[in-house]
């Protein structure tokens, strides 16, 4: 079997794992296990939230290494699931290159169903508006704001605005909309509506993933994500605060 090509495919799986928002320890462990199952020696893997490097020694004592960088990571749990299955399969059955390539190709074409994401924004915002003490009116309005946020975030992304600024702008956008709805007496509970919509922006993933990384001794990655969580929270607060001050007259 062509070991160079094999390593290339393994590295590609690692890149996809990182890109779709798997934890760092999962990326490192998966890469290591796959290499082990094909009998590579001197395996060295190091991953950061946007970067990893892998180096191995093949059976004929030549060595090779790969470095991959992924920017614009985005959580896609479907892909993480599929990749996890693939890694499991590779470790157990040691399939050949064609099979791995075909599987990677399949996962690459595993496009998210955008209407479902759109629905998710509305459902998420609406559900959490109810959760934080809103009534039916607040739930429906929050869902509408959630739908609009989807387009707002989409515009921001097509303009390639960085993540922190995007969070601040989105948080301003949802606060402004909520205040306008409140001003025209369409909702009674302003706080519940705003918090419900905010939940979409909260860094829940960053908090949970960072700690799981730190447990496994990946202090650098864990720290990076923790800082990310802190900055996102600050950006959300900044957006809400700014808009509330600007639109004080309407509350």
């Amino acid at each position: 079997m062509n070991e160079q090509l094999l390593l290339k495919n393994i590295a590609e799986i690692g890149r996809l794992l990182l890109k779709n928002g798997a934890e760092i320890y999962r990326v490192e462990e998966s890469l290591e296990r796959m290499c082990q199952s094909y009998g590579f020696k001197d395996i060295g893997v190091f991953a950061l939230p946007t970067y990893f490097t892998i180096s191995v020694t093949f059976k004929d004592n030549t060595s090779a290494s790969y470095t991959k960088r992924t920017l614009q990571n985005r959580t896609n749990l479907d892909a993480v699931c599929a990749l996890n299955d693939l890694v499991r399969k590779i470790c157990l059955e040691k399939p050949n290159n064609e099979f791995i390539e075909q599987q990677i190709n399949e996962i690459n074409h595993l496009n998210p169903i955008m209407p479902l994401v759109f629905l998710g924004y509305g459902l998420g915002a609406g559900g959490f508006a109810l959760f934080f003490g809103g009534g039916l009116k607040e739930g429906v309005i929050a869902a509408i704001i959630g739908f609009l946020m989807y387009f707002f975030i989409w515009i921001n992304e097509s303009l390639k605005i960085n993540a922190l600024m995007r969070t601040t702008l989105t948080s301003m956008f949802l606060t402004a909309l909520s205040i306008i709805f409140y001003h025209f007496k369409m909702i009674n509970n302003l706080d519940a509506t705003i918090i419900g919509c905010l939940m979409i922006l909260t860094p829940g993933i960053a908090i949970t993933n960072s700690l799981r990384d730190i447990i496994d001794g990946n202090y650098v990655s864990g720290q990076a994500r923790l800082v990310e969580a802190f900055f996102i929270a600050t950006a959300i607060a900044l957006g809400v605060g700014l808009m509330r001050i600007l639109m004080k007259g309407m509350i």
């Binding site: 595993l110 003490g133 730190i214």
Partner: protein, 149 residues
């Protein structure tokens, strides 16, 4: 009655977030994850009369993490999938908002209070995940030792 509405809201919200985080192919995972989130909130409501906010969050998150790890082992998927969605009812989104509110209304005492609450809740979430993950890691290690013997 209020509690029932909250649980319903949590379920719907988690359902929405599973779609946002792109669990699209498997409806059963979506339902499991959303149920995990609702379970967390039910536990929170059960313990809140006896414990502080932060301790209640800790208990709720421990249950969510336990549930997620167990379901992950049954379905053979990464536990993150369920934890990421299930943590949302307990994530201090409200805390972030209130902290900001008190900051812009110059209410220093309440500001400090809610800031500590928010950071405390985030730490509680983290600690809970830490405890449960470590627990499952130890079990895994013990099992592997058994295989070798």
């Amino acid at each position: 009655m209020e509690q029932v509405i909250q649980c319903l809201g949590a379920f719907l919200g988690c359902l929405g977030f599973s779609f946002v985080f792109r669990i699209h192919r498997r409806l059963d995972y979506v339902l499991i994850a959303s149920f995990g989130g609702t379970l967390g909130w039910i536990v929170y409501l059960l313990v809140i009369p006896y414990l502080s906010n932060i301790m209640s969050s800790l208990c709720a998150m421990i249950i969510v993490a336990l549930f997620s790890e167990i379901m992950a082992r049954i379905c053979k998927v990464p536990a993150t999938i369920f934890i990421v969605v299930g943590c949302f009812p307990i994530v201090p989104g409200k805390g972030i908002y209130q902290t900001m509110l008190y900051l812009i209304s110059y209410d220093q005492k309440l500001f400090i209070d809610s800031l500590f609450q928010t950071v405390g809740t985030a730490l509680a979430l983290a600690t809970a995940i830490l405890i449960v993950s470590t627990f499952f890691k130890v079990i895994k290690t013990i099992k592997q030792k058994d295989d070798h013997l």
